[in-house]
Protein backbone atom coordinates (compact mmCIF):
# COMPACT_ATOMS: atom_id res chain seq x y z
CA UNK A 1 0.00 0.00 0.00
CA UNK A 2 1.22 3.48 -0.91
CA UNK A 3 0.66 6.10 1.77
CA UNK A 4 1.33 9.79 1.12
CA UNK A 5 1.65 12.29 3.95
CA UNK A 6 1.05 15.77 2.57
CA UNK A 7 4.06 18.00 3.11
CA UNK A 8 3.31 21.60 3.95
CA UNK A 9 4.29 24.20 6.50
CA UNK A 10 1.88 23.31 9.28
CA UNK A 11 3.81 22.08 12.23
CA UNK A 12 5.70 18.98 12.74
CA UNK A 13 4.67 15.63 11.41
CA UNK A 14 7.30 13.43 13.07
CA UNK A 15 4.77 11.86 15.43
CA UNK A 16 2.52 10.91 12.50
CA UNK A 17 5.45 9.23 10.76
CA UNK A 18 6.46 7.38 13.92
CA UNK A 19 2.86 6.23 14.43
CA UNK A 20 3.01 4.66 10.95
CA UNK A 21 6.42 3.18 11.77
CA UNK A 22 4.96 1.55 14.88
CA UNK A 23 2.35 -0.24 12.83
CA UNK A 24 4.93 -1.20 10.24
CA UNK A 25 3.78 0.94 7.31
CA UNK A 26 5.89 2.73 4.71
CA UNK A 27 4.98 6.21 3.57
CA UNK A 28 6.25 9.16 1.61
CA UNK A 29 6.20 12.77 2.83
CA UNK A 30 5.47 14.79 -0.27
CA UNK A 31 3.95 17.86 -1.90
CA UNK A 32 4.18 16.39 -5.44
CA UNK A 33 0.78 16.22 -7.13
CA UNK A 34 1.49 12.97 -8.99
CA UNK A 35 2.70 11.17 -5.89
CA UNK A 36 -0.27 12.32 -3.84
CA UNK A 37 -2.80 11.52 -6.55
CA UNK A 38 -1.54 7.99 -7.07
CA UNK A 39 -1.28 7.06 -3.38
CA UNK A 40 -3.72 4.51 -1.96
CA UNK A 41 -4.20 6.54 1.19
CA UNK A 42 -3.47 10.19 1.90
CA UNK A 43 -2.83 11.68 5.33
CA UNK A 44 -3.17 15.44 5.82
CA UNK A 45 -1.81 16.14 9.30
CA UNK A 46 -0.75 19.28 11.04
CA UNK A 47 -0.53 21.60 13.94
CA UNK A 48 -0.38 25.29 13.28
CA UNK A 49 -2.29 28.40 12.34
CA UNK A 50 -5.00 28.39 9.66
CA UNK A 51 -4.17 31.45 7.53
CA UNK A 52 -0.44 30.69 7.27
CA UNK A 53 -1.19 27.07 6.38
CA UNK A 54 -3.78 28.03 3.72
CA UNK A 55 -1.43 30.60 2.17
CA UNK A 56 1.20 27.92 1.76
CA UNK A 57 -1.27 25.38 0.36
CA UNK A 58 -2.41 27.97 -2.21
CA UNK A 59 1.14 28.76 -3.20
CA UNK A 60 1.76 25.06 -3.86
CA UNK A 61 -1.73 24.70 -5.42
CA UNK A 62 -2.39 21.93 -2.93
CA UNK A 63 -5.64 23.71 -2.05
CA UNK A 64 -6.95 22.71 -5.50
CA UNK A 65 -5.55 19.20 -5.44
CA UNK A 66 -6.73 18.03 -2.02
CA UNK A 67 -10.51 18.49 -2.51
CA UNK A 68 -10.34 16.52 -5.79
CA UNK A 69 -8.68 13.44 -4.31
CA UNK A 70 -10.62 10.20 -4.77
CA UNK A 71 -8.79 7.82 -2.43
CA UNK A 72 -9.43 7.80 1.36
CA UNK A 73 -8.00 10.96 2.94
CA UNK A 74 -7.43 11.34 6.68
CA UNK A 75 -7.06 14.90 7.95
CA UNK A 76 -6.11 15.56 11.55
CA UNK A 77 -6.24 18.65 13.80
CA UNK A 78 -5.56 21.78 11.69
CA UNK A 79 -5.79 19.49 8.64
CA UNK A 80 -9.43 18.84 9.52
CA UNK A 81 -10.14 22.55 9.99
CA UNK A 82 -8.52 23.39 6.63
CA UNK A 83 -10.92 20.95 4.92
CA UNK A 84 -13.84 23.00 6.23
CA UNK A 85 -15.22 26.09 4.50
CA UNK A 86 -13.99 28.86 6.76
CA UNK A 87 -12.09 29.36 10.00
CA UNK A 88 -12.51 32.16 12.51
CA UNK A 89 -8.77 31.91 13.05
CA UNK A 90 -7.61 35.07 11.25
CA UNK A 91 -10.82 34.97 9.15
CA UNK A 92 -9.47 32.32 6.79
CA UNK A 93 -11.21 30.87 3.75
CA UNK A 94 -10.42 27.15 3.71
CA UNK A 95 -10.88 24.33 1.18
CA UNK A 96 -14.59 23.70 1.72
CA UNK A 97 -14.77 19.92 1.46
CA UNK A 98 -17.00 20.11 4.53
CA UNK A 99 -19.53 22.95 4.46
CA UNK A 100 -18.69 23.87 8.05
CA UNK A 101 -17.46 27.08 9.70
CA UNK A 102 -14.73 26.66 12.33
CA UNK A 103 -15.29 28.74 15.47
CA UNK A 104 -13.22 29.70 18.50
CA UNK A 105 -14.15 28.25 21.89
CA UNK A 106 -15.64 30.92 24.15
CA UNK A 107 -15.82 30.21 27.87
CA UNK A 108 -15.57 32.13 31.09
CA UNK A 109 -14.91 29.15 33.31
CA UNK A 110 -13.15 26.54 31.15
CA UNK A 111 -9.59 26.88 29.97
CA UNK A 112 -8.88 27.58 26.30
CA UNK A 113 -7.17 25.80 24.54
CA UNK A 114 -8.79 22.46 25.14
CA UNK A 115 -5.74 20.37 26.07
CA UNK A 116 -5.67 16.77 27.16
CA UNK A 117 -7.59 13.51 26.98
CA UNK A 118 -11.31 13.74 26.39
CA UNK A 119 -13.88 11.12 25.48
CA UNK A 120 -15.47 10.83 22.05
CA UNK A 121 -18.61 9.01 20.99
CA UNK A 122 -19.22 7.68 17.51
CA UNK A 123 -22.18 9.01 15.54
CA UNK A 124 -23.89 6.49 13.30
CA UNK A 125 -21.61 4.20 11.33
CA UNK A 126 -18.08 5.45 11.86
CA UNK A 127 -15.68 2.97 10.28
CA UNK A 128 -12.65 4.62 11.92
CA UNK A 129 -14.03 3.81 15.37
CA UNK A 130 -14.61 0.14 14.60
CA UNK A 131 -13.45 -2.02 17.51
CA UNK A 132 -13.32 0.90 19.93
CA UNK A 133 -15.42 1.35 23.04
CA UNK A 134 -18.63 3.39 22.73
CA UNK A 135 -16.84 6.14 24.58
CA UNK A 136 -13.10 6.36 24.03
CA UNK A 137 -10.42 8.79 25.25
CA UNK A 138 -8.21 10.59 22.74
CA UNK A 139 -5.77 13.49 22.95
CA UNK A 140 -6.82 17.01 21.94
CA UNK A 141 -4.95 20.33 21.68
CA UNK A 142 -6.99 23.11 20.04
CA UNK A 143 -8.67 26.49 20.52
CA UNK A 144 -10.92 26.32 17.45
CA UNK A 145 -13.61 23.72 16.80
CA UNK A 146 -16.10 22.44 14.24
CA UNK A 147 -19.68 22.75 15.52
CA UNK A 148 -21.97 19.74 15.19
CA UNK A 149 -23.14 19.37 11.59
CA UNK A 150 -24.49 16.72 9.19
CA UNK A 151 -20.94 15.35 8.62
CA UNK A 152 -20.18 14.84 12.33
CA UNK A 153 -19.08 11.21 12.81
CA UNK A 154 -17.91 11.49 16.44
CA UNK A 155 -18.80 13.95 19.18
CA UNK A 156 -16.70 15.37 22.01
CA UNK A 157 -17.93 17.70 24.74
CA UNK A 158 -15.92 20.73 25.82
CA UNK A 159 -17.65 24.06 26.45
CA UNK A 160 -20.39 22.49 24.27
CA UNK A 161 -20.67 19.35 22.17
CA UNK A 162 -18.53 19.70 19.02
CA UNK A 163 -17.30 17.54 16.13
CA UNK A 164 -14.43 15.28 17.15
CA UNK A 165 -14.59 13.65 13.70
CA UNK A 166 -16.11 14.44 10.32
CA UNK A 167 -16.79 12.22 7.36
CA UNK A 168 -17.98 12.84 3.81
CA UNK A 169 -17.44 10.46 0.88
CA UNK A 170 -13.72 9.59 0.90
CA UNK A 171 -12.78 12.35 3.37
CA UNK A 172 -12.25 11.42 7.00
CA UNK A 173 -11.18 13.98 9.56
CA UNK A 174 -10.30 14.01 13.25
CA UNK A 175 -9.80 17.02 15.50
CA UNK A 176 -7.74 14.95 17.95
CA UNK A 177 -4.21 13.67 17.50
CA UNK A 178 -4.71 9.99 16.69
CA UNK A 179 -0.94 9.55 16.36
CA UNK A 180 -0.39 10.17 20.09
CA UNK A 181 -3.72 8.92 21.44
CA UNK A 182 -2.49 5.59 22.78
CA UNK A 183 -4.05 2.30 21.66
CA UNK A 184 -7.32 4.02 20.72
CA UNK A 185 -5.56 6.42 18.36
CA UNK A 186 -3.55 3.62 16.82
CA UNK A 187 -6.78 1.74 16.14
CA UNK A 188 -8.26 4.78 14.37
CA UNK A 189 -5.21 4.92 12.08
CA UNK A 190 -5.31 1.17 11.45
CA UNK A 191 -9.03 1.39 10.65
CA UNK A 192 -8.30 4.18 8.17
CA UNK A 193 -5.54 2.20 6.50
CA UNK A 194 -7.88 -0.81 6.26
CA UNK A 195 -10.56 1.14 4.34
Amino acid sequence: MKIAIIKYNAGNVASVMYALDRIGMNYSWTDEEEEIRTADKVIFPGVGEASTAMAYLREKQLDRLIPTLKQPVLATCIGMQLLCKHSEENDTTCMGVFDVAIKRFQSTDLKIPHVGWNSIEAQGQNPLMKGLKASEYVYFVHSYYAPLNPYTSAICDYVQPFSAMLQKDNFYAAQFHAEISGQAGQRVIENFLAL
Binding site: Y18, V47, E49, P113, V115, G116, W117, N118, V141
Partner: protein
Amino acid sequence: MLTKRIIPCLDIKEGRTVKGTNFVDLRDAGDPVELGALYAQEGADELVFLDITATVDNRKTLVNLVREVARHVNIPFTVGGGISSIADVSALLNAGADKVSINSSAVRRPELIDELALQFGSQCIIVAIDTRRVDGLDWVHTHGGRRITEIKTIPWAKEVESRGAGEILLTSMDTDGTKAGFANVLTSEISSHSSIPIIASGGAGTMEHFYEVFTEGKADAGLAASIFHFKEIEILALKNYLANKGIPMRI
Protein backbone atom coordinates in the same frame (compact mmCIF):
# COMPACT_ATOMS: atom_id res chain seq x y z
CA MET B 1 -15.28 14.87 29.90
CA LEU B 2 -11.79 16.32 29.84
CA THR B 3 -9.69 14.28 32.25
CA LYS B 4 -7.01 15.32 34.71
CA ARG B 5 -3.61 14.05 33.60
CA ILE B 6 -1.06 11.91 35.45
CA ILE B 7 2.46 12.57 34.17
CA PRO B 8 5.54 10.58 35.20
CA CYS B 9 8.80 12.49 34.85
CA LEU B 10 12.00 10.70 33.87
CA ASP B 11 15.31 12.33 34.75
CA ILE B 12 17.88 11.68 32.06
CA LYS B 13 21.64 11.85 32.36
CA GLU B 14 23.79 11.06 29.35
CA GLY B 15 20.89 9.29 27.69
CA ARG B 16 20.09 7.08 30.69
CA THR B 17 17.35 7.20 33.31
CA VAL B 18 18.65 8.28 36.68
CA LYS B 19 17.55 6.62 39.93
CA GLY B 20 16.21 3.50 38.23
CA THR B 21 15.09 0.74 40.52
CA ASN B 22 12.98 -2.32 41.18
CA PHE B 23 11.21 -2.65 37.87
CA VAL B 24 10.86 -6.37 37.58
CA ASP B 25 9.08 -5.98 34.25
CA LEU B 26 12.03 -4.16 32.74
CA ARG B 27 15.17 -5.63 31.33
CA ASP B 28 16.95 -2.35 31.89
CA ALA B 29 15.49 0.25 34.25
CA GLY B 30 18.08 2.71 33.05
CA ASP B 31 16.70 2.64 29.52
CA PRO B 32 14.39 5.67 29.18
CA VAL B 33 12.72 4.22 26.09
CA GLU B 34 11.71 1.00 27.81
CA LEU B 35 10.63 2.78 30.98
CA GLY B 36 8.65 5.38 29.02
CA ALA B 37 6.87 2.68 27.03
CA LEU B 38 6.05 0.83 30.25
CA TYR B 39 4.57 3.97 31.82
CA ALA B 40 2.48 4.53 28.69
CA GLN B 41 1.24 0.97 28.87
CA GLU B 42 0.38 1.38 32.56
CA GLY B 43 -1.85 4.35 31.75
CA ALA B 44 0.35 7.45 32.00
CA ASP B 45 -1.34 10.30 30.14
CA GLU B 46 1.89 11.98 29.07
CA LEU B 47 5.59 11.71 29.80
CA VAL B 48 8.21 14.32 30.61
CA PHE B 49 11.89 13.63 29.93
CA LEU B 50 14.15 16.02 31.76
CA ASP B 51 17.78 16.13 30.71
CA ILE B 52 19.50 16.99 33.97
CA THR B 53 22.98 17.28 32.49
CA ALA B 54 22.00 19.30 29.44
CA THR B 55 25.45 20.07 28.12
CA VAL B 56 26.22 20.73 24.49
CA ASP B 57 27.95 17.36 24.23
CA ASN B 58 24.81 15.63 25.34
CA ARG B 59 22.53 17.31 22.81
CA LYS B 60 23.06 14.68 20.14
CA THR B 61 22.49 11.91 22.66
CA LEU B 62 19.26 13.59 23.70
CA VAL B 63 18.01 14.03 20.13
CA ASN B 64 18.73 10.36 19.42
CA LEU B 65 16.93 9.39 22.60
CA VAL B 66 13.91 11.50 21.65
CA ARG B 67 13.78 9.74 18.28
CA GLU B 68 13.78 6.32 19.98
CA VAL B 69 11.11 7.37 22.47
CA ALA B 70 8.92 8.69 19.65
CA ARG B 71 9.26 5.37 17.84
CA HIS B 72 8.08 3.41 20.86
CA VAL B 73 5.66 5.63 22.78
CA ASN B 74 2.13 6.39 21.57
CA ILE B 75 1.22 9.16 24.04
CA PRO B 76 2.38 12.79 24.08
CA PHE B 77 5.79 13.50 25.54
CA THR B 78 7.71 16.60 26.54
CA VAL B 79 11.45 17.15 26.61
CA GLY B 80 13.14 19.68 28.87
CA GLY B 81 16.57 20.67 30.08
CA GLY B 82 18.99 23.23 28.69
CA ILE B 83 16.76 24.37 25.81
CA SER B 84 17.58 27.96 24.87
CA SER B 85 17.07 28.52 21.15
CA ILE B 86 14.79 27.97 18.17
CA ALA B 87 17.38 25.53 16.82
CA ASP B 88 17.26 23.45 20.03
CA VAL B 89 13.48 23.24 19.85
CA SER B 90 13.44 22.50 16.15
CA ALA B 91 15.84 19.56 16.59
CA LEU B 92 13.75 18.04 19.38
CA LEU B 93 10.39 18.48 17.63
CA ASN B 94 11.78 17.10 14.38
CA ALA B 95 13.02 14.07 16.30
CA GLY B 96 9.44 13.45 17.46
CA ALA B 97 8.96 15.30 20.75
CA ASP B 98 5.43 16.66 21.04
CA LYS B 99 6.32 19.53 23.37
CA VAL B 100 9.38 21.15 24.87
CA SER B 101 9.80 22.69 28.29
CA ILE B 102 11.93 25.79 28.85
CA ASN B 103 12.91 27.24 32.19
CA SER B 104 16.09 29.25 32.92
CA SER B 105 16.37 30.42 29.31
CA ALA B 106 12.90 31.99 29.53
CA VAL B 107 13.82 33.77 32.76
CA ARG B 108 17.03 35.02 31.17
CA ARG B 109 15.28 36.25 28.02
CA PRO B 110 11.46 36.20 28.20
CA GLU B 111 11.13 37.09 24.48
CA LEU B 112 12.22 33.52 23.78
CA ILE B 113 8.70 32.40 24.74
CA ASP B 114 7.15 34.72 22.12
CA GLU B 115 9.61 33.58 19.49
CA LEU B 116 9.04 29.88 20.13
CA ALA B 117 5.24 30.26 20.28
CA LEU B 118 5.27 32.13 16.97
CA GLN B 119 7.57 29.63 15.30
CA PHE B 120 6.14 26.36 16.58
CA GLY B 121 2.73 27.22 18.10
CA SER B 122 1.85 27.63 21.76
CA GLN B 123 0.61 24.06 22.01
CA CYS B 124 4.15 22.69 22.14
CA ILE B 125 5.76 25.28 24.43
CA ILE B 126 5.66 24.54 28.15
CA VAL B 127 7.27 27.04 30.48
CA ALA B 128 8.57 25.40 33.64
CA ILE B 129 8.57 27.61 36.73
CA ASP B 130 10.58 26.61 39.77
CA THR B 131 9.30 28.53 42.76
CA ARG B 132 10.31 28.86 46.40
CA ARG B 133 8.80 30.87 49.24
CA VAL B 134 11.19 33.34 50.85
CA ASP B 135 10.02 35.65 53.63
CA GLY B 136 6.38 34.96 52.85
CA LEU B 137 6.63 35.66 49.11
CA ASP B 138 6.94 33.26 46.18
CA TRP B 139 9.97 33.86 44.00
CA VAL B 140 11.03 32.26 40.72
CA HIS B 141 14.26 30.26 41.08
CA THR B 142 16.61 28.92 38.44
CA HIS B 143 19.43 26.38 38.30
CA GLY B 144 17.33 23.56 39.71
CA GLY B 145 15.92 25.82 42.40
CA ARG B 146 19.28 26.86 43.82
CA ARG B 147 19.38 30.41 42.54
CA ILE B 148 16.78 33.03 43.45
CA THR B 149 15.73 35.64 40.88
CA GLU B 150 14.10 39.03 41.32
CA ILE B 151 10.90 37.78 39.69
CA LYS B 152 7.77 37.03 41.69
CA THR B 153 6.10 33.76 40.78
CA ILE B 154 2.47 34.80 40.26
CA PRO B 155 3.18 37.77 37.92
CA TRP B 156 5.69 35.60 36.05
CA ALA B 157 3.03 32.94 35.47
CA LYS B 158 0.78 35.62 33.97
CA GLU B 159 3.60 36.94 31.84
CA VAL B 160 4.57 33.57 30.37
CA GLU B 161 0.92 32.97 29.47
CA SER B 162 0.59 36.35 27.76
CA ARG B 163 3.81 35.69 25.85
CA GLY B 164 2.36 32.50 24.42
CA ALA B 165 3.22 29.59 26.70
CA GLY B 166 0.83 26.70 26.06
CA GLU B 167 1.11 25.20 29.54
CA ILE B 168 2.90 25.91 32.81
CA LEU B 169 4.85 23.27 34.71
CA LEU B 170 4.89 24.63 38.24
CA THR B 171 7.40 23.03 40.61
CA SER B 172 7.46 24.08 44.24
CA MET B 173 10.98 23.76 45.61
CA ASP B 174 9.43 23.93 49.09
CA THR B 175 7.50 20.72 48.62
CA ASP B 176 9.75 18.96 46.08
CA GLY B 177 11.26 15.82 47.59
CA THR B 178 9.25 16.10 50.83
CA LYS B 179 6.51 13.63 49.84
CA ALA B 180 4.25 15.79 52.00
CA GLY B 181 1.90 16.94 49.25
CA PHE B 182 1.86 19.49 46.43
CA ALA B 183 1.89 23.27 46.98
CA ASN B 184 -1.88 23.47 46.64
CA VAL B 185 -2.44 27.06 47.70
CA LEU B 186 0.01 28.52 45.20
CA THR B 187 -1.05 26.10 42.46
CA SER B 188 -4.68 27.07 42.95
CA GLU B 189 -3.84 30.78 42.94
CA ILE B 190 -2.03 30.45 39.62
CA SER B 191 -4.50 28.04 38.02
CA SER B 192 -7.52 30.19 38.93
CA HIS B 193 -6.05 33.20 37.16
CA SER B 194 -4.77 31.36 34.15
CA SER B 195 -6.47 30.15 31.00
CA ILE B 196 -3.71 27.67 30.15
CA PRO B 197 -3.29 24.29 31.88
CA ILE B 198 -1.16 24.08 35.02
CA ILE B 199 0.91 20.95 35.61
CA ALA B 200 1.67 20.72 39.33
CA SER B 201 4.95 19.19 40.45
CA GLY B 202 6.80 18.65 43.69
CA GLY B 203 5.71 16.88 46.83
CA ALA B 204 3.69 13.87 45.67
CA GLY B 205 3.93 11.12 48.27
CA THR B 206 0.50 9.52 48.41
CA MET B 207 -2.52 9.02 46.19
CA GLU B 208 -4.41 11.48 48.35
CA HIS B 209 -1.88 14.18 47.43
CA PHE B 210 -2.98 13.88 43.82
CA TYR B 211 -6.64 14.14 44.87
CA GLU B 212 -5.80 17.31 46.78
CA VAL B 213 -3.85 18.92 43.96
CA PHE B 214 -6.74 18.34 41.52
CA THR B 215 -9.38 19.65 43.96
CA GLU B 216 -7.78 22.22 46.33
CA GLY B 217 -4.92 22.95 43.94
CA LYS B 218 -7.14 23.17 40.81
CA ALA B 219 -4.29 21.64 38.80
CA ASP B 220 -4.94 20.24 35.33
CA ALA B 221 -2.19 17.65 35.61
CA GLY B 222 -0.04 16.15 38.35
CA LEU B 223 3.59 15.28 37.73
CA ALA B 224 5.84 13.10 39.84
CA ALA B 225 9.09 11.20 39.43
CA SER B 226 10.33 9.10 42.29
CA ILE B 227 7.03 7.67 43.54
CA PHE B 228 6.42 6.17 40.11
CA HIS B 229 10.03 5.31 39.54
CA PHE B 230 10.37 3.46 42.82
CA LYS B 231 6.95 1.89 42.32
CA GLU B 232 5.63 3.35 45.56
CA ILE B 233 2.49 4.20 43.62
CA GLU B 234 1.37 2.40 40.49
CA ILE B 235 -0.19 4.56 37.84
CA LEU B 236 -3.25 2.42 37.19
CA ALA B 237 -3.97 2.06 40.92
CA LEU B 238 -3.64 5.83 41.31
CA LYS B 239 -6.01 6.51 38.42
CA ASN B 240 -8.57 4.05 39.76
CA TYR B 241 -8.35 5.67 43.20
CA LEU B 242 -8.88 9.15 41.74
CA ALA B 243 -11.72 8.00 39.45
CA ASN B 244 -13.49 6.46 42.45
CA LYS B 245 -13.25 9.80 44.21
CA GLY B 246 -14.90 11.54 41.27
CA ILE B 247 -11.86 12.95 39.47
CA PRO B 248 -12.23 12.48 35.69
CA MET B 249 -9.55 10.03 34.57
CA ARG B 250 -8.71 8.18 31.37
CA ILE B 251 -8.67 4.52 32.37
